[in-house]
């Protein structure tokens, strides 16, 4: 059956080529980029599609169906829109009358993707070529392949490849009998795992799997899969990879900011772990990762003794107290030695070399915060009361903001892990609350002055009433 088909195809070739060439002349003038939603009809004589197209030969049989690529997949692909075609990535010659079987075409063979390990090289063929990429996206990076090789995924592939090479060598040394060891690529992410294979969307396309709002989901396809992550470990000493990172991140303040509030600048997986060179940050670089956005507190932390102690003990900096994936909005309860205080975790039992002096500092900071909060709340109540009584309190209320600012500032200063800077910030706030209290009190006093006015005005009223009554008495008694 197949040979009959080939005979027919061969017979049609001359006719097909002529009409294709004519059609090409007309299409020459069309721009390379197409609208994302338009399905551009492919020229029927485009040789790849003869077999790999939806109506092609490979679509008929179940065991070759997976090799079929549809027009939709191709025409929404950013590469297709820029004018690249199948042969630009896969090699070979698309011209029908120059058709050569893949297995015999050296151009194709040089670019074959036999296993996931070859994918990065295949993509990198163009994406690491600065001169080539400059034609299409002058400001885009060209080090993705190099980054990938340093990533957890890339390293695992590299290790597997090395082992296979060693096994192959051993096999050859032993005489080369029987089946040579087959390279089994470990199940890791490669370029196509995240970006797709055909139908790759631009990174800034909202439907792309690597659009900021989708990045975590994309990572989670593997990293939230219990079975895939079973038995995987990282680091020294090795720790299990686990599969709860997505769920935790989703609940965190960053996950909520990104997905619920639509804040695209919120951190997702790649912001802390790196893009193509994805690795968990080391113990000494967690603070740097967080500090990309949380500059002030990271700077404060970097200057403390705690930072070195943490590194010595292998504690992950910010994540020790704030968590790594499930970072929640910090509360005042986290500070101090009471229940819910993260300081207590180490300082209570002198774990990791924590000191009792540190515990005192923690207590002092917390009680200072609570004091300022109390003062602010009292000042607010006074202002409210004055307002309720009808006094002008916009000024004091406005000034009270400064006290709240001071409280927020003090909360940042906690990360200096010393009582003095925190106290300084708190004192700013206390100064303001004292002033506001005074002004509210004077507003209330004004209210009192109204009572004085009242008393003063009731006096003439009272006098007039008395006089009226007296005068009425002097009137002649009516007789009729």
């Amino acid at each position: 059956m197949r040979s009959l088909l080939r005979i027919i195809l061969a017979a049609m070739l001359p006719l097909a080529t002529i009409s294709w060439a004519r059609a090409q002349q007309e299409e020459e003038t069309k721009p390379a980029a197409q609208g994302a939603n338009e399905v551009e009809p492919l020229p029927e004589e485009y040789s790849c599609m003869f077999c790999h197209g939806r109506e092609g030969t490979l679509a008929e049989s179940d065991d070759t169906k997976h090799l079929v690529v549809t027009e939709e997949d191709l025409t929404r692909d950013i590469h297709w829109q820029k004018g690249l075609r199948c042969h630009d990535c896969h090699g070979g010659n698309p011209v029908l009358d120059a058709y050569v079987d893949h297995r015999d075409d050296p151009d194709f063979l040089g670019r074959v993707i036999a296993s996931p390990a070859d994918i990065a090289k295949s993509c990198g063929h163009c994406h690491s070529d600065l001169v080539f990429m400059r034609r299409f996206a002058p400001s885009s990076r060209t080090d993705q392949e190099a980054e990938y090789r340093t990533s957890g995924h890339g390293q695992r592939l590299e290790t597997a490849r090395e082992e296979h090479a060693k096994a192959l060598e051993q096999f050859k040394e032993k005489g080369g009998e029987g089946e040579p060891p087959v390279f089994e690529a470990p199940h890791v992410a490669t370029c196509v795992s995240c970006h797709g294979r055909h139908g790759i969307l631009a990174v800034d396309d909202q439907n792309s799997p690597v659009y900021p709002t989708h990045v975590a989901e994309t990572c989670a396809t593997c990293h939230a899969d219990k079975d895939l992550m079973a038995g995987l470990a990282f680091g020294d000493p090795p720790r299990p990879l686990g599969h709860d990172q997505y769920a935790r991140w989703r609940e965190s303040v960053h996950g909520k900011a990104m997905l619920d509030k639509g804040d695209l600048s919120a951190p997702t997986c790649n912001d802390c772990h790196g893009n193509h060179g994805a690795m968990p940050p080391g113990v000494d670089s967690v603070a740097n990762a967080c500090g990309t956005c949380h500059g002030k507190v990271a700077k404060l932390f970097a200057e403390t003794a705690m930072k070195h102690k943490f590194e010595e003990q292998g504690l992950p900096g910010c994540a020790q107290c704030h968590g790594n994936h499930q970072t929640l909005t910090p509360t005042d309860e986290m500070l101090g030695m009471e229940k819910g205080g993260v300081c207590a975790e180490c300082h209570k039992n002198k774990q990791y070399g924590a000191t009792l002096a540190g515990a005192e500092t923690a207590r002092a900071m917390r009680s200072g915060l609570e004091r300022l909060k109390r003062e602010i709340s009292e000042a607010e109540d006074k202002v409210e009361e004055a307002e309720r009584l009808g006094m002008e309190v916009r000024g004091p209320r406005f000034d009270l903001r400064q006290a709240v600012d001071a409280l927020t500032n003090a909360r940042s200063m906690i990360h200096s892990f010393a009582a003095a800077p925190v106290e300084e910030a708190l004192n700013e706030g206390l100064r303001v609350t004292a002033e506001v209290n005074e002004r509210a009190a004077s507003a209330l006093a004004e209210h009192t002055s109204r009572r004085v006015w009242l008393a003063a005005s009731l006096v003439p009223i009272g006098i007039v009433i008395v006089l009226l009554l007296l005068y009425i008495r002097t009137l002649p008694i009516p007789t009729k």
């Binding site: 900011a257 509030k261 804040d263 600048s265 919120a266 956005c293 949380h294 500059g295 002030k296 507190v297 700077k299 002008e392 916009r394 000024g395 209320r397 406005f398 903001r401 400064q402 709240v404 600012d405 927020t408 500032n409 940042s412 005005s457 003439p460 009223i461 006098i463 007039v464 006089l467 009226l468 007296l470 005068y471 002097t474």
Partner: protein
């Protein structure tokens, strides 16, 4: 003034003091009414619109910036062009003077104007906004709310009228 030789009757005295008393209470009522009617200087109004407590020539380092605009702090900044024009004594154009709601979009601290760096800075967590109010660095997730600015008065020392819609 009575020229009569009759001793002033009780009623006479009573009537007189009554009239005085009524006049006194009338005055006590009249006084607050007049004070009420008299227009007052525009203070911190519910404020859809008010003038900043400083003039253009006091920028960029004016005192009282940010100021209280209807209960919220309002920051007035000069754009880069505006600062240049002001320094050279040239007339300012619209958009040379800008006003923003000075409440940081991160955790509501009050931001400050840094004319020497040409930006708006939030001291609480080192958030930075550019002179268009756009958040450019640090934790703030959103830009600052912008108000409309009108300059009014003598060129060189105009009043800065800030207004917002509802």
């Amino acid at each position: 003034m009575s020229e009569s030789f009759e001793p002033p009757s009780r009623r006479n005295w009573l009537l007189w003091s009554l009239n005085t008393g009524i006049a006194a209470t009338a005055a006590a009522v009249f006084y607050p009414v007049v004070r009420f009617l008299w227009p007052r200087p525009a203070t911190v109004s519910g404020a859809q619109e008010m003038a900043a407590p400083f003039r253009v020539n006091q920028l960029p380092n004016a005192e009282g910036n940010p100021f209280n605009f209807g209960g919220k702090p309002c920051l007035v900044v000069l754009s880069a062009d505006g600062a240049k024009r002001l320094a050279r004594g040239e007339p300012l154009r619209t958009d040379d003077v800008r006003a923003f709601n000075a409440i940081c979009s991160h955790v509501d601290c009050t931001v400050q104007y840094r004319p020497e760096k040409g930006d708006i800075f939030c001291n609480c967590h080192d958030g930075v906004y550019d002179l268009n109010g756009r958040n450019v660095s640090g934790p703030p997730p959103r830009p600052l709310e912008a108000y409309k600015v009108t300059l009014r008065g003598e060129p060189g020392q105009e009043e800065i009228i800030v207004s917002r819609s509802t």
